[in-house]
């Protein structure tokens, strides 16, 4: 088996607040292959954003990565010094954020900022940096780049700014682009354009993408493989078509059941009962047990492990383990 581009194992990122420890990410394992688009979906508070920040080691105090390993291109990121990590960011792994409107420095020209991304890692002449900036702006589909390179962020629309952020992220042809809710702040037609752009750029630059989102529609449109997170753990992992055709975990089934479908006429959409518990007050056993429609006795005893169930399809639920069969008699 070849080594994956990014391998995260048993990652635990906890926040040490005044009211106790918040286990935002609590034992997450996944991998991203070269030029693969992997989605992480989950509700607010599921730990998906903290997972993505942990990969770049951008978690700030009071948060801390307390356990686990993150291997990227075969190197252990958690063992790197601050300076080694800084040199990796932007060059091999880069990140784009949710709010394109606030992700650029309002007092600097956009061209300068993209050139700066190149200059912070490579020694290039001003002319060379400008030429590459123009190329990048063309690559992400900004019309009239030669003119717009000298404009300020407030002169761009949200969609255009997100294109610029992607250009900045791709400036040094990184192997992995982490995109934290890249289209959430954009309206639907622009969302589709940006997602198309991400897929298209993946095909051309072979950069893998780790896409964080709460939107199943975005996942269906963009990703190759999906991780579903709930309260800091991965509950299901599957290739994208498998996940939509045959979701295994009751939580995934609930999420998909709550999306309206254009071909079916239904009076009521199914909703998952209750709401996400506070991370200070996680149910014992399976974290989903207090909201699960198929809850069994065994679910309250211990956390179900993430077990392979079909090729590339893993699920953390007792419905699919032998213990469950014994439990049912």
């Amino acid at each position: 088996m070849t080594v994956a581009l990014l391998e995260v194992e048993n990652l635990k990122t906890h926040f040490f607040g005044r009211r106790g420890v918040t286990k935002a990410v609590d034992g997450v394992t996944f991998s991203v292959e070269k030029s693969e688009i992997v989605g992480i979906v989950g509700e607010s508070g599921s730990g998906k954003s903290v997972t993505s920040l942990s990969v770049l080691r951008l978690v700030d105090a009071p948060g801390r990565i307390v356990d686990g390993t993150i291997r990227f291109e075969g190197r252990d990121l958690l063992a790197m010094s601050r300076e080694e990590m800084r040199r990796l960011r932007g060059r091999r792994i880069s990140m784009i954020f949710q709010e394109p409107g606030t992700s650029m420095n309002p007092v600097l020209k956009v061209g300068f900022q993209i050139a700066e991304a190149i200059r912070s890692h490579e020694r290039v002449t001003d002319a060379e940096a400008r030429r590459r900036t123009l190329e990048l702006m063309d690559l992400v589909g900004i019309p009239d780049a030669a003119h717009r390179i000298d404009q300020y962020p407030h002169q761009f629309s949200g969609g255009m700014l997100q294109r610029l952020m992607i250009a900045m992220g791709l400036a040094l042809s990184p192997a992995l682009l982490v995109a934290d809710e890249p289209v959430t702040a954009l309206d639907v037609t622009i969302q589709a354009q940006i997602l198309d752009l991400l897929r298209d750029l993946r095909d051309r630059t072979e950069a893998a993408v780790l896409l964080i989102t709460h939107d199943m529609g975005v996942v269906a449109e963009t990703c190759d493989r999906v991780l579903v997170m709930y309260l800091g753990r991965v509950v299901e992992e599957a290739p994208v078509d498998k996940l939509f055709d045959a979701p295994l975990h009751p939580y995934t089934q609930g999420l998909l059941g709550s999306i309206p479908k254009i071909e079916e006429k239904v009076e009521w959409l199914e909703a998952i009962p209750g709401s996400v518990p506070s991370p200070h007050d996680v149910p014992s056993g399976c974290r989903f047990s207090n909201r699960c429609p198929k809850v069994m006795d065994v679910c309250h005893t211990a956390e179900p492990p993430l077990i392979e169930h079909g090729p590339g399809h893993r699920v953390a639920c007792y419905l699919y383990t032998t213990e469950a069969e014994e439990d049912r008699g």
């Binding site: 951008l58 954020f97 709010e99 992700s103 420095n105 007092v107 900045m168």
Partner: protein
């Protein structure tokens, strides 16, 4: 670019008439200070016993002091000293204070040491700190500059610290970190440019304080040593001779008052113009 600038200035003058008036006074003060040598009709240190204490006349437009030195020329050269002392001291204080404030905001472990030291400095009245420093280092224009700078540093540090704390939480700073920018690049290109407007206002509001303190130190004999023409020293001299020659009190006092007034109203106007939240008020 130049047209935009002139447009901005015209707009500022229209919206803030008092501030524009202040700006004119400040401009006159700066020009006077720079071209003192060309503008002054006489040598400010030219002693003439014959003209001792003469009231304003054709030869001495603002009269002469007890040594027969031309008051107008001494006021003009005094402007140069005030300009030099206030600009360098506030400039130095702004540089050091802003640097400390931004650094203390960015490096969490430096926050308490730097900012608590600033709080300690802030607890002393400015003139006490200035007196202490002069007492240690002795008289002289450089020591006056240093004394004023040191007591103004915490004011810049506190302002910059507060502004930097909120500026560094912006997504574009996080994006810069995620892009692997160095700390120096982040602080100088992402944090500092976004907090510079209130700092400019602070500079314009602290310059009159620096002028007053410099004059005050000279007034009590701890500032610029005589015979250098300095407004505070001129006023001190007039304590003895003022009753015989009121022009020795009135004109240096008027110069001091006008310049301080000019900077104050300019600073207020700049604050209104640069802070959108205050627009349309007052």
């Amino acid at each position: 670019m130049l047209r935009n600038l002139s447009k901005t200035i015209v707009g500022f003058a229209r919206d803030h008439k008092l501030a524009a008036f202040g700006a004119v006074i400040v401009l006159l003060f700066v020009i006077t200070g720079i071209f003192a040598g060309q503008l002054a009709p006489k040598d400010p240190n030219q002693v003439s016993v014959r003209d001792s204490l003469v009231p304003p006349n054709a030869e001495f437009p603002l009269g002469a002091d007890n040594n027969g030195r031309d008051v107008l020329s001494r006021i003009i050269f005094g402007a140069r000293i005030s300009l030099y002392v206030s600009m360098t001291s506030v400039g130095l204080a702004a540089f050091v204070g802003v640097l400390l404030g931004i650094v203390a905001a960015w490096y969490r472990w430096l926050r308490a040491p730097i900012m608590r030291l600033m709080d300690v400095l802030l607890a002393f009245p400015g003139i006490v700190i200035a007196l202490t420093i002069i007492a240690i280092l002795g008289r002289g224009i450089e020591n006056v500059i240093l004394a004023i700078a040191i007591y103004q540093i915490p004011q810049f540090a506190r302002l910059a610290h507060g502004l930097a704390l909120s500026a560094q939480e912006q997504t574009y700073v996080e994006a810069a970190v995620a892009g692997g920018e160095s700390d120096v690049a982040i602080l100088s290109r992402y944090v500092f440019p976004n907090i510079v407007a209130p700092i400019i206002v602070q500079v314009s509001l602290l310059i009159p304080g620096a002028i007053m303190t410099a004059a005050g130190l000279s007034f009590i004999g701890l500032g610029v040593p005589p015979p250098t023409a300095e407004w505070g020293a001129m006023l001190q001299l007039s304590l003895t001779w003022g009753r015989l020659a009121p022009h020795m009190t009135i004109f240096p006092g008027l110069a001091l008052m006008l310049v301080v007034f000019g900077f104050n109203v300019l600073g207020d106007g700049l604050r209104d113009a640069l802070d959108p939240r205050l627009k349309g008020r007052g």
